[in-house]
């Protein structure tokens, strides 16, 4: 009796397994001609973890890479920069993603794990847009000082003389300014307040960080939350990732960085990235961004996320795969495609350096 019924269970269970086993990965796109198994296509699996700011960008790059090289699998877990660095140091992932550079002790531990120095490779730039809702105003210029005062609640009307001074020739309505900020902790807030702290000087009186520390206005969760809120109130203003400004058809403020108004475009973001100074040496491309840049045509509110890699992998096959994937990621086509997701393409001078660094990975 017992043997028969356990046989039944075994049959049932293996049946269920077999049912699952007949599935396949193939989300194959009809055209097989999209460069199948090019010479730079190794096979294997990579594990990566880290920053959620670059999640959409790296997922898009992974998708196109896996489509090009069907024998590869790249896993990226968007658990946050801190977790990414920890797992990289612990040797749990093949490369980490981070918004910030490694601290000295972290860099030392990472070098121990890799048995070679770890490199920062800036791969994704994410600009933050200042979005406003004023149907009658098609072009608005702000600078760091005025932006800080608006977001601190010191300027409350759109026709305030301080705003008017930057927008000569534009008729500003006598509408109340409604400020919306992120109620959740976010890299966007961190990035935006870092800019205000660096560029607005004494006008920005509160701490910068992932959490919004201002007291004026109203908090909303996520990019989608602030975008919807700003859209629903005439006179609304908020900061958000670039893609949300365009998706919600909000006005995008130009930023006067001290050398005239700059529109947010891939090119103006690229200019700002080019002004950054390299903090690392050689192929370690960690950057110090100059938020207070006065370079004409440089859009100053940007975030750079890095891939943190070993300069020489213990497992040569892993190194080859990392190299192959990052070469794909930094390529002009992929970088260009990220613009649709609200990221800016890397400027060619920077991507040339990155390409050289990627090629040097062993």
């Amino acid at each position: 009796m017992t043997t028969r019924s356990s046989a039944i269970i075994i049959v049932a269970m293996s049946g269920a397994l077999a049912l699952g086993a007949c599935g396949s990965d193939a989300t194959k796109t009809g055209t097989a001609a999209t460069g199948t198994a090019a010479s730079d296509c190794p096979t294997g699996t990579l594990k990566a973890e880290g920053s959620s700011a670059q999640k959409n960008a790296i997922e898009a790059a992974i998708k196109s890479f896996q489509t090009k090289c069907s024998g590869t699998t790249i896993n990226y877990a968007a658990t946050g920069s801190g977790a990414g660095i920890k797992q990289f140091i612990a040797g749990q992932v093949d490369f980490g993603g981070s918004d910030s550079t490694l601290k000295d002790d972290e860099a030392a531990s990472a070098a121990t794990t890799c048995a070679s120095p770890a490199w920062h490779l800036p791969m994704v730039t994410g600009p933050v847009g200042i979005a406003y809702n004023l149907p009658s105003v098609s072009s608005l210029v702000l600078n760091a000082d005025v932006t800080a005062k608006i977001f601190l609640g010191q300027i409350t009307m759109w026709n305030d003389p301080a705003i008017a001074a930057l927008n000569s020739g534009t008729t500003l309505p006598a509408t109340k300014i409604s400020v919306f900020f992120r109620s959740d902790e976010s890299g966007t807030t961190d990035n935006f307040t870092k800019y205000l702290k660096a560029a607005a000087g004494t006008a920005w009186t509160v701490e910068s960080g992932k959490k919004w520390n201002g007291t004026a206005g109203e908090g909303k969760p996520q990019n989608a939350g602030v975008a919807t809120a700003a859209k629903s109130v005439e006179g609304g203003i908020s900061y958000m990732e670039w893609s949300y400004v365009t998706q919600n058809k909000l006005g995008l403020a130009k930023i006067d960085n001290g050398s005239g108004p700059v529109e947010l475009t891939s090119a103006s973001v690229g200019k700002m990235i080019e002004t950054a100074t390299q903090k690392g040496t050689g192929n370690d491309l960690s950057l110090t961004l100059d938020y207070a840049t006065k370079t004409p045509g440089a859009y100053p509110i940007n975030l750079v996320t890095y891939e943190i890699v070993c300069s020489k992998y213990k497992d040569a096959a892993k190194g080859k795969l990392v190299k192959s994937f990052l070469t794909h990621f930094v390529s002009a086509d992929v970088q260009k495609s990220l613009e649709a997701l609200g990221y800016a393409a890397l400027p060619s001078s920077v991507s040339a350096k990155i390409t050289a660094a990627v090629a040097a990975i062993g």
């Binding site: 009796m1 017992t2 028969r4 019924s5 039944i8 269970i9 049932a12 269970m13 269920a16 397994l17 699952g20 086993a21 007949c22 599935g23 396949s24 990965d25 193939a26 989300t27 699996t45 594990k47 973890e49 959620s52 999640k55 959409n56 997922e59 898009a60 998708k63 896996q66 489509t67 699998t73 896993n75 877990a77 968007a78 612990a90 040797g91 749990q92 969760p221 996520q222 990019n223 989608a224």
Partner: protein, 326 residues
């Protein structure tokens, strides 16, 4: 007699295990005792009032307890059923499906969940059943008390603690990678106490007369256990195993810590990431603004519920097939 049936009713409202015990006890008793339920005479007005009040309170409590269950099931079914109707859900993985893309498949996660559950069961069921046999049939004295005490402690360990324990041993101490097998180890810690406790209760319910009859015929103890005791308690044991399996399949904490998600099919327990249904839910959970991700999350939740339900049904069916016939 009425006192016993009242006690049974109270028991029946307890945990699944308590209900199971009560049901089995009643079944054994039904073999021996067959008296009709006692006839109640009309009581005084106050007693009838109390009766009515108690009845209303009971039904109201029942209704209240059903609200969250029906609500959750209704929400999950209503929001998640659409993707399940597509054949691709049952045949494809999420490879190259990003958060903003619609649909994709869940077969990778279903496989992962079933494989991990099977391996967990393969380790913890023998361990649990043998422990229970020891406790009921052999265990006397200090060792048995210690084992019993440890099982009690183990059953009170939160899943996150089990996961962190395995992480500390597997990753921090030995420096291994996070793999599917490590998840299974932490799930084993959670499943063993459930199997031990339920099997123990089932074995205790086997009437001693059966064992004594067997001994009287000169049958050794181990044959008595394998041929008489275990078959008698088999259906109860299977149900207990299914309860344990249902618990570990829906477990999330060990998966978050030890079993990172991957969107591609991965069936190797010893190398690389392994996708499972709970981690698939977690993957889409963060994309609050995206309808495609939300839809997928609900569909995954529904899939997990359906799989646990299916396993329970299989378990019941197997238990019924095998019940000892007179």
């Amino acid at each position: 007699m009425s006192a016993t049936s009242a006690a049974e009713t109270t028991e029946a409202t307890g945990t699944p295990l308590a209900r199971l015990v009560a049901a089995r006890r009643a079944a054994y008793r039904a073999d021996v005792v067959t008296d009709d339920p006692p006839q109640l005479t009309r009581g005084s007005a106050s007693r009838r009032l109390t009766d009515q009040v108690a009845r209303v309170v009971m039904w109201a409590s029942f209704g209240l307890a059903m609200v969250p269950l029906v609500w959750i099931l209704g929400t999950v079914v209503a929001r998640g059923y659409e993707l399940l109707l597509a054949s691709s859900w049952w045949t494809l993985s999420q490879r190259n499906i990003n958060a903003a893309d619609v649909g994709g498949g869940a077969v990778h996660a279903i496989q992962g969940t079933l494989i991990q559950a099977a391996v967990t069961a393969a380790i913890s069921v023998p361990l649990g059943i043998f422990t229970a046999i020891h406790l009921v049939e052999y265990g006397r004295g200090r060792l048995a008390r210690a084992v019993s005490f440890m099982v009690d402690i183990l059953s009170g360990v939160p899943s996150i603690v089990a996961a962190l324990f395995i992480y500390a041993v597997w990753v921090t101490t030995f420096g291994f990678q996070r793999i599917g097998f490590a998840v299974c180890l932490s799930l084993v810690l959670l499943m063993i106490p459930v199997v031990v406790r339920s099997t123990e209760e089932m074995l205790k319910l086997v009437p001693n007369g059966l064992r004594e009859g067997s001994y009287a015929l000169g049958v050794p103890k181990w044959i008595t256990i394998t041929r008489i005791v275990l078959p008698t308690a088999f259906s109860g044991i299977v149900t207990g195993v299914m309860l344990g399996l249902a618990r570990v399949m829906g477990e999330t904490a060990p998966l978050l810590i030890l079993g990172p998600y991957t969107k591609s099919i991965a069936t190797n327990l010893f190398d690389g990431y392994m996708p499972t249904l709970p981690t698939m839910i977690n993957q889409d959970r963060t994309e609050i603004g995206l309808d495609s991700a939300m839809e997928r999350m609900w569909a995954t939740a529904l899939t997990l519920i359906l799989i646990v339900l299916a396993l329970n049904l299989i378990g019941r069916w197997a238990a019924r097939r095998s019940s000892v016939r007179r």
